[in-house]
């Protein structure tokens, strides 16, 4: 990392320990105080364009290649869009197994986010040297937590592999259902591993909850502001991750829209394109980009839901919701919500696999294309994921629109960076403390830039500070 404070802008590039590659610029006003901050996404791959002309049945396998972290989410949203093009209801067992795999994906991705990427900040401190503030530093200082985190992620990945055939880039979910049923041996293996995973989730929650008072400052400054929230719920308002309907609430907890299917929700959402980023900025059209900014992902899902729907997670959900009279607004609490979702996911996997119907071999509804447009969705680890396909009469795609969770948090991430910069930036110096907190603020959202720009690669961070004339007055480069 290097810092230059010669003349006038602040850039953080690359942002490390997030998925992809990004730059942050911080813009000062005439008074030298922070006026605005921008989270730039610099990679571009163009999945939507090169999928045109392919058959929609290929899309679950193709789009699972968008990302190596959440391939399951893309596969499932794509299969859901395919179901709608076929105009079929998939067999109950197929839906049950898709739900299990999606929850396993949420567990493994949240474990990666919390234990590998974020817990070094929480356990070692924001001012710890970057060389130590990573999973290796965590292993040296807190080996039991690191061991448990690794085992928890393994649980999720193994469950995915046992059901879908591969940990990443599986081709298991297809339009109409899934192409393989679950064996009793695989089910038993997953169920046998659940108690240890649940114990890890509970122990981690106990530790995190106890540590919350020491993170009070971060909870107030890491993206604490009013926005809308969107997430999937069951018909009775419980937490759901697949096959449910969407709910949108405002910052006071009032319902804005409820029980929307993917097509109904998609109509409500607009997208703003900025010249300085490949990441689009979705918003609720009726309210415009400012008032209509919304958050998705674990924090949003726990804010829109009335309960989780499983016993242990509901106990923790009650504690989580007691943080605020209305929705929990601090983006720092994405971490807390992530841990609760891990616990929920594990409990729900147990419930879904305890039912003997999970072993049925009736897992695929067969049909030809019956519609020309299909919009599918899943709750990816980072939030709601839409796949919107239009096809010709032969089922060949004429347009593809992937609305990604990280993109839907874009407006909120920009606000979070601005808030953090206002709290920690001293214009006369660019220091590690600022850089670390800006990074940690972004990391709370767990952005996946491979998904949101459909880009390849990993993501390190550059921060630049710009003066009122746009001149760069400081720069920190995490790659150096």
């Amino acid at each position: 990392m290097k810092a230059e404070t010669m003349a006038q802008t602040i850039t953080i590039e690359p942002v490390s320990r997030v998925e992809g590659h990004a730059k942050i610029t911080i813009h000062l006003g005439p008074d030298g105080q922070v006026q605005d901050a921008r989270f730039h996404v610099l990679e571009f791959r163009g999945f939507e364009k090169f999928c045109e002309g392919r058959h929609f049945q290929e899309m679950p396998a193709i789009t699972s290649r968008v990302c190596g972290i959440c391939p399951v989410s893309h596969m499932l949203a794509s299969a859901d869009a395919g179901d709608r093009l076929l105009a079929v209801e998939i067999p109950d067992t197929a839906l049950r197994l898709r739900r299990v795999v999606n929850l396993a994906q949420i567990v493994q991705s949240h474990a990666l986010s919390f234990f590998y990427l974020s817990s070094p900040d929480l356990l070692l401190g924001y001012d710890a040297p970057p060389a130590a503030r990573n999973v290796l530093g965590l292993a040296a200082a807190h080996p039991e937590i690191a061991r448990r985190g690794i085992r928890l992620r393994q649980f999720g990945q193994t469950a995915i592999e046992l059901i879908a055939g591969k940990r990443i880039h599986a081709s298991w979910a297809i339009a109409g259902g899934v192409n393989a049923s679950l064996s009793a041996a695989a089910r038993d293996q997953i169920l046998a591993a659940l108690p240890e995973a649940i114990e890890t989730a509970r122990l981690t929650l106990d530790w995190f909850r106890a540590s919350l008072p020491s993170h009070d400052e971060e909870a107030r400054t890491f993206g604490h502001f009013p926005t809308l929230f969107m997430g999937m719920v069951t018909p009775d308002g419980s937490l759901e991750s697949y096959g449910g309907r969407l709910r949108i609430i405002d910052a006071h907890g009032r319902l804005v829209a409820d029980q929307l299917d993917a097509a109904q929700a998609r109509v409500l959402l607009g997208e703003r394109v900025e010249p300085w980023s490949y990441l689009k900025s979705p918003f609720l059209k009726a309210l415009g980009p400012d008032e209509g900014a919304y958050r998705v992902g674990p924090l949003a899902r726990l804010n829109v839901a009335q309960r989780c729907g499983t016993p242990l997670a509901d106990e923790e959900f009650a504690r989580f919701r007691s943080l605020s009279a209305g929705p929990v607004l601090g983006s720092f609490h994405y971490h807390y919500a992530r841990l609760i979702e891990i616990l929920f996911g594990l409990e729900r996997i147990g419930e879904l696999l305890d039912d003997p119907s999970c072993l049925s071999t009736d897992v695929l509804a067969r049909a030809s294309r019956n519609r020309l447009r299909g919009i599918g969705m899943s709750e990816a680890p980072r939030g709601t994921l839409f796949h919107d396909y239009t096809v010709d009469e032969d089922g060949l795609l004429t347009s593809v629109d992937l609305l990604i969770a990280t993109g839907q948090n874009n407006l909120a991430m920009n606000r979070a960076v601005t808030q953090i910069a206002k709290a920690y930036l001293h214009a006369d110096r660019l220091d590690e403390g600022l850089l670390n907190r800006v990074e940690a603020g972004i990391r709370a959202f767990d952005p996946c830039l491979s998904c949101s720009t459909h880009a390849a690669g990993t993501m390190p961070l550059v921060v630049e500070v710009h003066d009122v004339n746009g001149a760069t007055i400081g720069r920190i480069d995490r790659r150096a």
Partner: protein, 148 residues
């Protein structure tokens, strides 16, 4: 048991040489456990910790394409960490998390290109038998001590 962690991305030209060598080592009938991931992750530390010895196989740059090099490895005190870990980082995790220090080597096959969707280059494809022999030479053999 010897663990062969032969990693790389088969969709990126010569980066796929690790998994290819791993598969062919398994096909020799050698008494080894072969794992062929796209990249190294913290989860692999547990497998490394359970092994008597570890042989990483990977593509490399910096020498003539097709050159095969064997290097002894140790846990490294400070390693830069992004998503994918280095062999030394995996050894560090195995040491810190499981108090395991298995002897370890890496067999590197120097690459010509990492072009998306391209097959192995001719030089790297021709090097595969030598890479397999380099792995087999590291296996426990009577009256033979692997190079350190």
């Amino acid at each position: 048991m010897t663990l062969v962690l032969a990693f790389g991305n088969p969709l990126r030209g010569d980066d796929g040489v690790g998994p290819e060598v791993g598969r062919r080592v398994a096909a020799t009938g050698a008494v080894v456990e072969v794992v062929t991931p796209l990249q190294l992750l913290p989860e692999h530390a547990a497998q490394v910790a359970a092994a008597d010895r570890v042989i990483f196989v990977d593509a490399a740059v910096g020498r003539q394409a097709g050159e095969v090099v064997t290097i002894a490895l140790q846990a490294a005190p400070t390693v830069r960490v992004d998503h994918a870990l280095t062999p030394a980082a995996i050894l560090t995790l195995a040491r810190d998390l499981y108090d395991a220090r298995p002897p370890a080597w890496i067999v590197q096959v120097h690459a010509a290109h990492f072009t998306t969707g391209a097959p192995l280059s001719a030089a790297v494809a021709a090097a595969i038998p030598r890479a397999i022999n380099a792995v087999l030479a590291l296996l426990p053999q009577p009256h033979h001590t692997p190079p350190r």
